[in-house]
């Protein structure tokens, strides 16, 4: 019964998201587009953090590479958007394979530091390789052509682009969700709780961590491919280490133990940022206070706390 109500609630939210362009102004369309893209970015991060138990501080590298890949393909090859996104996923997966191969052998703080270091290296390369990346200015001036698959979509229209983002993020979320609920996903959860026991069950924990890392990288790349046309630029900020903090914060804010937690975290993060920066400069201070409260009092995040409350109250 309760799960049915929750499912119904989710359906209402999705229907509401689909209807937004007809009922809300462009301002909210932009905000929701950003929430969806960053939500996917955070959800991809949570596959390795919340599920597998690996705290990466370099996830923006894959997000940024995805945005650069789409921008470069649009500038030089003018391929359909869908093809750009596939290139973004491929490029990020490849980068994740290299960084992951070198990082997953380490645990906890060493893993976090190594991913941070690789993230900084990727940033430095994007910042300095001016002939390809246009340095600190980033790549701009690209235009979206067709979508692909013979669909006639005016991607330049923010409402259309919002719908495209909504559809792609929804499909990506379903794929990620299925992975989390598969036998493979079960092993990832087991690795978070007790990696040694998993290896004594006959599995090479490193391989599983690496596969999770590559999948997470690919989906972060997809999110990056979606953000470049939205921002109309692929710039080094997208792969700066401070950008790597965002999915960490969003996942914790929403709840790392729940698949939709990072999406809730992304929504709260973007909405708060928009709202608070409208009357004070010190958005980071407010965010810091909220995060501290979450970690001290609401370990399960907003979604987790809300679900617990729902299960208790409505018994």
């Amino acid at each position: 019964m309760k799960t049915r109500i929750l499912m119904g609630l989710l359906a209402v939210v999705i229907a509401g998201l689909i209807a937004v362009p007809w009922i809300a102004s462009y301002f909210y369309i932009f905000i929701l587009t950003e929430i969806l893209i960053l939500g996917l970015f955070a959800a991809s991060f949570n596959l390795i953090f919340g599920y597998t138990g690996m705290l990466s501080f370099g996830h923006a590298a894959f997000f940024g590479i995805g945005s650069y890949a789409t921008a470069l393909v649009l500038i030089h090859l003018e391929w359909p958007f869908l093809a750009c996104l596939l290139v973004s996923m491929g490029a990020s997966a490849l980068l994740a394979l290299v960084i992951g191969f070198l990082s997953v052998r380490l645990n906890e703080v060493y893993f976090a530091m190594l991913t941070l270091a690789f993230g900084m290296m990727v940033f430095a390369i994007a910042y300095q390789w001016r002939s390809v990346t246009n340095g600190s200015d980033g790549l701009a001036g690209f235009t979206l052509g067709s979508f692909g698959l013979g669909l006639d979509l005016t991607l330049g229209n923010p409402a259309v682009y919002y719908h495209v983002v909504l559809a792609i993020v929804a499909i990506a979320a379903v794929v990620l969700y299925l992975i989390c609920r598969s036998s493979f996903g079960m092993i990832l959860k087991a690795i978070r709780q007790n990696p040694e026991r998993v290896s004594f069950a006959g599995l090479n924990v490193r391989t599983y961590r690496l596969v999770a890392f590559v999948i997470a990288g690919a989906f972060a790349g997809l999110a990056g491919g979606l953000i470049a046309p939205f921002l109309r630029v692929a710039s080094p900020e997208l792969l700066h280490w401070s950008m790597s903090a965002e999915p960490v914060l969003m996942a914790i804010l929403g709840g790392t133990g729940y698949f939709l937690g990072p999406f809730v975290g992304s929504a709260v993060f973007v909405l708060l940022e928009t709202w608070i920066t409208s009357f004070t400069e010190s958005w980071m201070l407010v965010l810091g206070i909220i995060l501290a409260m979450m970690v001290i009092f609401f370990r399960k995040g907003l979604l987790g706390t809300a679900l617990d409350w729902w299960m208790e109250v409505k018994k």
Binding site: S182, S183, G185, M186, K189, R197, S199, F200, L203
Partner: protein
């Protein structure tokens, strides 16, 4: 059938200047239950860690069914058929009891590589998991979170997980440590019936002498990393040096008993 399942040859582990295990030789025949006893620090757990791949031996050789497994990583040794339990509980605390066994079964059957099957609809694995829980008499707890069940039940869950990989050789590291007398009796009975079923070969370390004498076909007594004595439970019971080293008797007591 008459080839040993496990052959340990001159197994040695040194940590810096300390020799934890020194030149142990052992042959384990199929379907046999061997107990390794010795006081704390005798090197039993280090011995286990080497056989299960958790530690690299400094010297010596470990052969499983004629295959050299010396120094292989744990997941490879597990794949080859050695499964172990730990002295401390080593389970997946946030999962249900049944899921704990499902993880091991997924690994064993290769389902762990499936990215798009719904684990919750994997009825084959689920039924098999319940079978193993039944064998240990804890199927009534299958839907409980593993961290909330009693200490003794956790240990039984661990044995279920160990058996789920259908191992050629089962290593149990103090299976009854920390159990209440009641739980100890229950566990001993269970392991005894598993051993009597003839499906398993056991290597067991244990502190509780009643458990050891009850279960073991042969006993290896370790002392300060070395083999002190090996023999049947009867021989061990009557061996004076063993009584001094392990049963904690003073030398003169033994003398007294020997010459009343």
């Amino acid at each position: 059938m008459n080839n040993p399942i496990l052959t340990i040859d001159n197994l040695t582990k040194r940590f810096g200047g300390v020799t934890a295990v020194n030149g142990i030789n052992l042959e384990v025949m199929p379907k046999e239950t061997i107990a390794i006893i010795g006081p704390n620090g005798a090197g039993k757990t280090t011995f286990y860690n080497m056989v299960s791949g958790r530690m690299q031996p400094t010297e010596g050789k470990i052969m499983l069914d004629g295959q050299d497994i010396t120094g292989l990583p744990p997941h490879k040794i597990s794949r080859l058929g050695v499964s172990r339990s730990f002295q401390i509980n080593n389970i997946f605390p946030e999962m249900t009891v049944q899921e704990n066994v499902e993880v091991v079964l997924s690994a064993y059957h290769g389902h762990s590589r499936k990215l798009f099957n719904l684990a919750s609809r994997n009825t084959g694995i689920q039924q098999e998991a319940v079978e193993y829980l039944k064998r240990l008499g804890i199927d009534g707890l299958k839907d409980q979170r593993a961290e909330v069940i009693s200490y003794g039940d956790k240990r039984l869950l661990e044995i279920a997980m160990v058996l789920a990989t259908q191992p050629k050789l089962v290593l149990l590291d103090e299976p009854t440590a920390g159990m209440t007398p009641d739980e100890t009796r229950r566990t001993t009975k269970l392991v005894k019936s598993l051993a009597d079923s003839g499906d398993y070969t056991f290597l067991i370390t244990e502190h509780d002498m009643d458990v050891v004498f009850n279960l073991a076909d042969r006993i290896l007594v370790m002392h300060r990393g070395e083999k002190l004595f090996a023999g049947t439970p009867e021989e061990v019971k009557n061996h004076p040096e063993v009584r001094v080293a392990y049963l904690g008797e003073e030398e003169d007591e033994v003398v007294e008993e020997a010459n009343p």
